[in-house]
Symmetry: D2
Subunit: 347 residues, 4 copies
């Protein structure tokens, strides 16, 4: 029996869908058979994603023309997938949603975060939060995967070992994400106009970032999380710093141990903390196109403050690669399959 699974990507003209398409086209066990786009239906996908020239002859179709597939990947704007979920469930056995629609477990939190009632609250329990480092066991055999948010992923993976170790003091954690322009999507706007954006360092969410809810869900405890998001001149990538507090007496070595214990066998988490050279901490520059989350830290021993640093490619480990890693686990395939790109240097 063939291992090949057919894949339909719904909303494939955006950056998240395009990135999943790129990865899936090179994945040995996947075969992309359909990609939808209302705006670009009829056009070759390589017209919108020109990196795929010569790689595929697929053309965009309308979602209404969607036929069955083994796996349906939803890359739709927020609040679109949930409203139409029955339609997509009819098309495929495994559904991966790249949006925020099924990440939160608690409908109340959803309402507080997104300002409206969840359209299908009864289904929230069916979905696994798509973060392999925290939910690997639940992902095995999963058929509903709600891919984690990109900024949330960078925050959650940075802090998770300290939470798991149970050492975080109940003090406020300030997390700052430096985010590339691709995170805002593929639609042109005044704010994304190159002359207004190229040299900009723009705080776009000083308070109230929506990923706070999912980060807090995944990192339970008594330490309020505060997320601030700043756009940078990069196209891809998130660099997150998070300031957390641990009790007196913990050493740098203790923190090392915690991270090594939790992440030592993770294929896509690297601890980056080097004494010498110019690449001492995580840097998104090195991660474009890769599924790595690099994590480093530094301690301010006088105050018990730990400065966590994490870097990801928002479109890969932050979205499409993370989702593919989940799919690999769900199907029992090698977890790194189709995610082998090492990244470039220089870049």
């Amino acid at each position: 029996m063939s291992e090949h699974k057919t894949v339909a990507i719904v909303g494939g003209s955006g950056y998240a869908g395009g990135e999943f398409l790129r990865l899936a086209l090179s994945h040995p066990n996947l075969k992309v058979t359909q990609v939808t786009s209302e705006r670009s239906s009829g056009l070759p996908v390589s017209m919108i994603h020109p990196n795929l020239r010569g790689r595929t002859n697929l053309k965009f179709i309308k979602a209404a023309a969607l036929e069955d597939a083994d796996i349906v990947v939803l890359a739709l704007p927020h609040n679109s997938a949930a409203k139409r979920i029955a339609e997509f469930e009819a098309k495929g056995r495994v559904i991966v949603d790249l949006s925020a629609d099924f990440r939160l477990k608690d409908p109340e939190v959803y309402r507080a975060t997104y300002g409206e009632d969840h359209p299908t609250p009864e289904k929230l329990g069916e979905w696994v939060y798509g973060n392999p480092e925290l939910h690997r066991e639940e992902l095995r055999g999963a058929t509903r995967i709600a891919c984690a948010g990109c900024f949330a992923t960078s925050v959650v993976l940075a802090l998770y070992p300290l939470v798991k170790l149970g050492v975080l003091l109940p003090k406020d954690i300030i997390a700052t994400g430096l985010v590339g322009s691709s995170a805002a999507g593929a639609s042109a706007s005044d704010g994304s106009h190159h002359p207004e954006r190229a040299g900009s360092l723009r705080v776009y969410k000083p308070v109230g970032h929506r990923h706070t809810a999912e980060a807090q869900q995944e990192l339970p405890g008594h330490f309020p999380l505060h997320l601030t998001a700043i756009s940078t001149p990069r196209v891809r990538g998130i660099l997150t710093t998070a300031h957390a507090w641990i009790p007196d007496g913990y050493s740098d070595r203790d923190v090392w141990s915690a991270y090594r214990e939790v992440y030592g066998n993770e294929p896509f988490v690297r601890i980056v903390k080097v004494a010498k050279g110019i690449h001492r901490y995580p840097d998104p520059m090195l991660l474009d196109g890769t599924n790595y989350c690099d994590i480093g830290f530094e301690m301010d021993v006088d105050t018990g403050r730990v400065v966590l640093m994490s870097a990801i490619d928002n479109l890969v480990k932050g979205t499409a690669g993370h989702a593919l890693q989940c799919l690999n686990i769900a199907h029992g395939w090698e977890e790194t399959m189709g995610l082998a790109f090492a990244g470039l240097h220089p870049a």
Copy 2:
């Protein structure tokens, strides 16, 4: 009698109009009294041009509300100014047009270049081509100034001394302009979307650039000019290289002499050709905000090829600063008035 002249800027929400506004607000003899924008009327100009916060309380008005001014500066899209020129002529004695509408002398060339008949061909003779280095005498007392195109300016100033000297061989001249994103204007588009543009080197006009017509008009002779335009990751600036051909026997020193003779007293043209260091030739990096055109060259003595290089800020020497320099001349003011900014290093 006061030297102060009132200025109305028509189409002030774009980059050319905004740049003229910035310069005029600091000009000792100008007083900007009106700035129009159909889209942003009612808003403070500093909402659209945030560099002017605290510099002016002006608000945008609609063009229909325009009142008289000593000087009317038209910063409208191509083919808008000419159609409405009578309307603007009724408002002010001196008209400066930053668009392409009145640059070409020959209506036939206009039609060939812009694909339609000029709406007021009988007026073309009234306008001075706004390039002080070539037309300083005509500009004195001028009341109709058609500001030169940005790419054209970089080509014309690079080649002019060789044309004036009469040494150019009748061979094809290849001129390549590397252009910043601001040259395409302030309106967002798919192509200006930051993720699509930030890392791009995009040939956007390999053949048939419209500035060819005005460059050829200003550089009469038997050397066909071929202009190619490429967009770069910079926001401002044009770097132009032009390959021209001169007879055997001309030395590097001869070319130096030609450029020094023509430009030696020009306040805004610098000859940049340095044997050592890292800033040996013109570089737009050094010119953001300045009215300089830096010009350099190198000879390929074996073949009689001269590689000319010129750099400008497309919005200053390429548009608004050039226009202001023309206005200074037209009014008999110090030519450098309001144009003193030296540029930054590093930048």
Copy 3:
């Protein structure tokens, strides 16, 4: 009696000295007569600072050849000025030091911060900390000005009104500075090599930044300050976010009032907090070459957290412009003299 003062710049081949030179050359009351550089002595200053081509014929001299001047500006590496201060005091009546040598009042803090004893602790009391917004009165007639550090300035100006108002809770303040590459100086290094740096977001000082000491000195109180510095792809500019805590019951409007009261008449501090548009908060993109510090904030009313944001050009309001503003005050000149550049948009 002429108002002109002669200026000697010691260490003029670096970025701080070069920026002071640029500003001083355009200042109506200053005349730069000497610029020293050990490495480049004999060369025209415009060879190293190519933006000054055609602006000055000055050549670098060695410091040993320094003659008297009314004002001596020291732009030397850290710990160089203090060791040789007697030498420079013999040359001019007014000394401005752009380094960190005379900023701290307390020799113990100096030792803790810089790891060695201050060479002339007895002189620390003679110097005014060069921040006009906090020390304007002390600066009048001052002859020893220790220009404030760039990151410190962005932190101090962001937080000062809350400190002055006395409302800060005794909770940890996390301040993160996003810093351009020029802050590391003009010397090439492995880390500043363009291919390694252009796309980088690099945490270079997660804990223990030296400017903490001067920021804490200028912002006395019981709120521990924690500074983290991250390098960005920009060349100039610092964007700082600082998370501070105020009691329940304070509203957004209260914070507005505090900032307006303290900064309402400041010529170079602008409060930037706009509800609409794409330029809602401070952005260093808009400040290259200007002496502005733009400050904004946003409140998280549920938690009493205030997110302060400030932006400066590290070489102008962060160094040379700030120093010039101090000099203007010291001499009783118009405070904005020579600092009128509005900045560019787009940039």
Copy 4:
């Protein structure tokens, strides 16, 4: 019998060697056993090439410690490989040289180009010029491969079909290469210092580029080639435009046919010429990390001028990928092996 070949990389701390290492580590038939670096011997290769963290435990060794390998890849500075070639020939059966030492067939041309006699002119005939599109047959079984220069490759592949077709008129061809900063290598210098380079458009070789010789060797004919090289803010990539001349009567469709005939079956050459959208011509933005050479053109039918455009990643198709493609051919392996990366969008 295993297909695996061992590889030693000599000079592996530079960008060319590091890129070959990255590709070779993922190549199914290669096993990198040694990487030399005099400066970094003893350090993990991932200290210098941080993208390889977690990918390899190799450490740099000194060249003196080199042991035998099936394939020796030389990534040394110009004029180093040739002088020591006997030393390396003793270590491996197949030698790939990434430098310029063995590209030129004619020792006279070598002397004219590099200013000194070739140290081993008798060996020049043993080497195949490493360009699969032109020399695929010679590469089969080859044991000496002189990898083509990056700028030369972009010029040669752009013009080759017109040369092969024999239609080029004997007129001067102007080729302009826009080059990323990685092309200058991994050593920091004043000119590569980020603040001096980040915003720069710098003509670094207006005339006399050394790759002219190899391009002319590979494109024999009576059309003088003139190469101009300009550095851009990008890290990787070359965009080349070349202006060539063909007889009257040739249409756009004729040129299409020529390129399709020559490149239609090439795995790594794509003809990019699209009527609509924002990605109409080759753009190095899309090629980082890939082995593609994208080629487009536009005709100026009035003058018989063809504007060719080509884009490559200078470190992949311009160096290490090109070399690996040659090695695949030499060993009779699938030509695309290890070179499957599609490139990113957005990037």
